[in-house]
């Protein structure tokens, strides 16, 4: 399905959720609690069959965090984005997608290391790039470090 058809399909299937679009993909905004059931439905529904999670990242929009998931289908070759807004800045937490896709294991380790967002039901959450005693989360916009030399 192309972008406009997908957008209409999403508006019909999820009437409570906000649907938007970027330059390439349609976007579906979800709340934290309905993430796992909706992802499972998107993966198993025969019209969409989004079975490939190829990118998972986070964006720090002061003052909230925005989780971004990119989904693709190996049957129909169409893609979409799913976004979840996390309001809590001190202890952000969200459900892990490891039970649906094993790729989420490494993606979520990286997000925890660089942003500080915790994932529940993750098999082994650890700081994967930086050392265990690193203070702070570098990719946040308010990260302070004396060792950075800037022009």
């Amino acid at each position: 399905m192309i972008k406009e058809e997908l957008k209409q399909y999403l508006e019909q299937t999820f009437p409570n959720a906000k649907v938007d679009e970027t330059f390439d993909f349609p976007v579906l905004f979800l709340a934290k609690e309905e993430l796992l059931p909706v992802m499972k439905q998107l993966r198993d529904a025969p019209e969409t069959k989004f079975n490939f999670l190829f990118c998972e990242t986070a964006v720090d929009r002061n003052p909230e965090f925005e989780m971004v998931y990119h989904l693709s289908s190996t049957y129909y070759h169409h893609d979409m984005m799913v976004k979840v807004i996390l309001e809590d800045r001190e202890n952000p937490e969200i459900e892990s997608l490891y039970s649906l896709w094993e790729a989420a294991d490494l993606y979520e380790d990286e997000i925890y290391d660089l942003f500080g967002i915790r994932f529940t039901n993750h098999p082994n959450l650890r700081r994967i790039f930086l050392t265990e005693d690193w203070v702070g989360y570098p990719l946040r916009k308010d990260y302070q470090d004396d060792r950075i030399i800037s022009l």
Binding site: T131, P138, D145, R147, I148, I149
Partner: protein, 185 residues
């Protein structure tokens, strides 16, 4: 951190001093032979972290052969090698590993800093939170080779410079350090 290389005399040359306090031709000849042996077969450690490692591998292979100069065998264990060619960026997580490898090497040992990242942090000098700005903050460096990445000929030029430095060094001839009047940093 103080990175001055401490001079540890390996052979007591005081035994051969004459009445004017100079060491004579026996010790300088031993020096020459020892330096000739050391400079013509420094065995490097296989240590490459990023892009410069590929140019290192090009220098090993048949077009720019480095075993013509004596760097014949690239050993994997630091206990069996003489020179460590630091090729690539060193991050704060990798720095203790490099220091431990350097400490495990037996004396006399030399360090070549290859590439802009090892010399001073390179393209990652500004705005990076995890890069060590120059490998001479943790180990004493003998030869610096600039470039990003340096061509294999640059690396060979750097290695020949190291060989000249070894030939001019004094292992058995003792020179008492002059008394320093002011503090010299």
């Amino acid at each position: 951190m103080d990175v001055k290389k401490e001079y540890i005399p390996e052979f007591d040359g005081d035994l051969y001093k004459d009445e004017f306090g100079r060491t004579n031709f026996i010790v300088t000849t031993i020096d020459k032979i020892a330096n000739w042996g050391r400079s013509n077969s420094p065995w490097p450690l296989s240590f490459g972290t990023s892009c410069c490692a590929i140019e290192l591998m090009s220098t090993v292979s048949a077009k720019y052969d480095w075993s013509r100069f004596g760097f014949e065998v690239m050993r994997a264990s630091p206990r069996q090698c003489d020179v460590i060619v630091v090729a690539g960026t060193i991050t704060y997580k990798m720095a203790p590993v490099l220091k431990r490898l350097y400490d495990q090497m037996p004396d006399p040992k030399y360090v070549i800093a290859m590439g802009a990242c090892a010399v001073s942090g390179g393209p990652f000098y500004y705005n990076s939170y995890a890069v060590l700005r120059g490998v001479d903050q943790i180990v004493p460096v003998d030869v610096y080779i600039p470039g990003c990445p340096p061509r294999p000929e640059s690396l060979i030029h750097g290695m020949m410079t190291l060989q000249e430095k070894i030939r001019k060094s004094k292992a058995y001839v003792i020179q008492k350090p002059k008394k320093k009047k002011e503090e010299d940093k």
